[in-house]
Symmetry: C2
Subunit: 434 residues, 2 copies
């Protein structure tokens, strides 16, 4: 029998809506508990403890495993690893249908890792003490993407509250390393977790991601020639030499943005390519001409470009900038990838999964689902490129992602929870909870 994909009937939709509303307080409590975990890179353990507990409590079959660098690095989609994975684990909860599968299987994916807070005094409230204000839940990671991850769990809870459970296999993956390498989602893929479609509730503002960019992280190391300041003109100041790198990166950003017309997905984006100078460190002493400076950069590039080609082009531009300066030409900078090394992906239009989500969104909101291009990394590339399945990135409205006072819009969050419940019901089919 062919799998049936259909939006739930009116009556069931009403029951699901009610169940989402009834469970929203519990959903928020779990979102806040998860946001209280300061799960910056290397410190994701307690957040994964929360997710593991939530999955076990709900009766999922749980698989938790530590990320294995050697195994990850054997995959062409792996990014270099320059930290310990001793505390880095993924958690996957699985629901198997009791009857025969009547819908399609689904992989839900979300990440618990968050980016650093920056200076605490720039936050209105402590970033890991989530607070609700004017209909927003504030906290580092609330938007990106703990609220979405918990919302997906709450969506399945709501189906249960209405008396049902998915009628096809559903994997619920809570992963790490999304903000630095994408190796967490990749490790899930390597362990065999996939579905006939994937759903990732990143904060997209209730839009669907059509395409996203490839991303590389790299460091640029410039060596100087130190000297006492009174002979500073005989030295080469590694910090000031970095200005040439800034200029080369600016030039590349302009050039790549100018070529957006060649990309079918990003040609209409106002500014698809960002090359971000994110961190700098250099020199040891105010009174010495600094002998070293290291820049940490993240660059995006079109889905048609391989990460190694993007890095090569950037490297060439930086070397060329140094070659033009006789003092610097002797010490060309060293460029090395130390994180993201990932290709972009495209959600090919017309899949059944997308059609299902469009129907859900339009039924709920009375307006068409808009597709957006997303100029940053998404774990969706793993399912799109390696599982080769339709991967729907769709989630709530958030603000100040990676910034101060990051927050998620609670009304949007509830709508998205309902939409995910309807999508899961429609895509996986339902069987009585029994």
């Amino acid at each position: 029998m062919a799998a049936t994909i259909a939006l739930p009937e009116t009556e069931l939709r009403a029951a699901i809506k009610e169940a989402v509303a009834a469970g929203f307080e519990r959903q928020l409590a779990l979102t806040q508990e998860l946001t209280r975990q300061a799960s910056i890179r290397g410190h994701e353990k307690s957040a994964q403890d929360v997710m593991e507990g939530a999955l076990r409590e709900r009766g999922y079959a749980v698989d938790r495993w530590q990320l294995d660098p050697a195994s990850i690095l054997s995959h062409p989609g792996a990014s270099p690893i320059d930290v310990s994975y001793a505390e880095a684990s993924n958690v996957v909860g699985t629901l198997e249908p009791k009857g025969g599968a009547i819908g399609r299987s689904l992989l839900i994916n979300g990440h618990v890792d968050v980016v650093p807070t920056g200076p605490l005094d720039m936050w209105a409230a402590p970033p890991f003490e989530p607070t609700i204000k004017d209909g927003w839940l504030e906290g580092r990671g609330a938007g990106d993407m703990k609220a979405g991850l918990v919302a997906a769990l709450a969506a399945i809870d709501a189906l249960g509250h209405a008396g049902y459970r998915p009628a096809s296999r559903l994997h619920f993956a809570s992963v790490v390393e999304e903000e630095s390498t994408g190796n967490g989602a990749l490790a899930c893929h390597q362990r065999g977790y996939q579905g006939e479609a994937a759903l990732i509730p990143e904060p997209t503002g209730e839009a669907l991601v059509r395409a996203n960019l490839g991303v590389v992280w790299f460091t640029v190391d410039v060596k100087g020639v130190p000297a006492h300041v009174h002979e500073s003109r005989s030295g080469v100041n590694a910090i000031k030499a970095m200005r040439r790198v800034f200029r080369a990166l600016d030039d590349i950003e302009v050039l790549w943005n100018a070529s957006k017309r060649l990309d079918p997905w990003f040609r209409d984006h106002p500014h698809p390519i960002s090359i971000n100078v994110g961190k700098i460190e250099g020199g040891d002493w105010a009174s010495s001409v600094p002998s070293w400076c290291r820049l940490h950069v993240r660059a995006g590039f079109y889905p048609s470009v391989a990460p190694e080609d993007a890095l090569t082009e950037i490297g060439r531009a930086i070397e060329e900038a140094f070659r033009r300066d006789p003092a610097l030409a002797k010490n060309p900078p060293t460029i090395s990838c130390n994180g993201f090394h990932t290709r972009g992906y495209i959600l090919q239009p017309g899949s059944e999964a997308e059609t299902m989500l469009r129907e859900v969104h339009e039924t709920l909101n009375g307006e068409k689902l808009s597709a957006i291009t997303f100029p940053a990394y998404l774990d969706a590339r793993v399912m799109a490129l390696y599982d080769k399945v339709p991967t729907l990135v769709y989630g709530p409205k958030a603000r100040a992602i990676h910034g101060f006072d990051e927050a998620v819009d609670l009304a949007s969050l509830e709508r998205v929870t309902e939409a995910m419940a309807l999508f899961i019901a429609g895509w996986c089919g339902l069987e009585p909870k029994g």
Copy 2:
């Protein structure tokens, strides 16, 4: 009876020369032992232990005391203190004449603190394992100024070997904090150690310092507005904003160098003013628009300028640079002095002490002593400005001060040792060792 100042007679000069040569191996051993102590700021204790031991062994009356920030900061010549002085001590050894003083008293001053090494792989040999190669002693601090400090001690030893000792009070001060604040020499002044002249064997290449610059250390803190990189144009990148600070500092450097014709001492120096960007740190994460960046800068300025006026002018230039950019104008950078806050000084020509040293130098080398202007900080400003005595900065030839493979020229070192012995003999007078 008026004090007698006179170059020793020919026979005694020959005896001193011989004594310096005979003691040179022992002098080198102590220089190497001192250079083995990695006396970067905050870690000067073992170096001062070596100096204290050497002074006690030679029968000096030794005073060693911990630097007291409160007492130092009460002096107008103090620099701000942003580190602990728990391990920071000065050592002063004193020789009192046994007979009545027949010459003039002298303060010999040198510092044991050294600047950081920078990356170790840039050194031919480990920086704190001094090695002799092709007539040079290599090691961090060998040039600046452990060789000079030990040479002064060896000069007095040589007088002893020839059967004499200074016939006036001599203080031998081994100080800290010369490379960051000048508070070590200032603490000596506050404790009452001074002479009718001062001698500082910094590595001047056997020239005499006529004038030196004032110095300030300051930090520039720039705040950004962080954002996810995909919205990077809505943020303000604190690292890239620092480029405006670089430009403002470059402009100030050009401007101040252009006005060198107004300074009687530095008008002939090719490039008296250096504003050194020595250290930078900023941002937390490659994929976030960085919200902070801090620059550590050292600026020199003419002896006629007060440090507070130099800082004010720099601050104004930086603020003006930010005011011109609407995105940056909202977050003007913060500038604060975190080290050197010192005025320059001038050795007024014509003092008896200078005349004595000129006579010594010309007798020894058969050529005139050249006077140089020194565009960096020297502890000499303490004796010149606050003791108001002729302060002679005169020492051996060194290379790569503050750089890699720093070294001191051993032939020059021996010449300078002899010159100092003759100067001490001439200035302080001699009495039999007895």
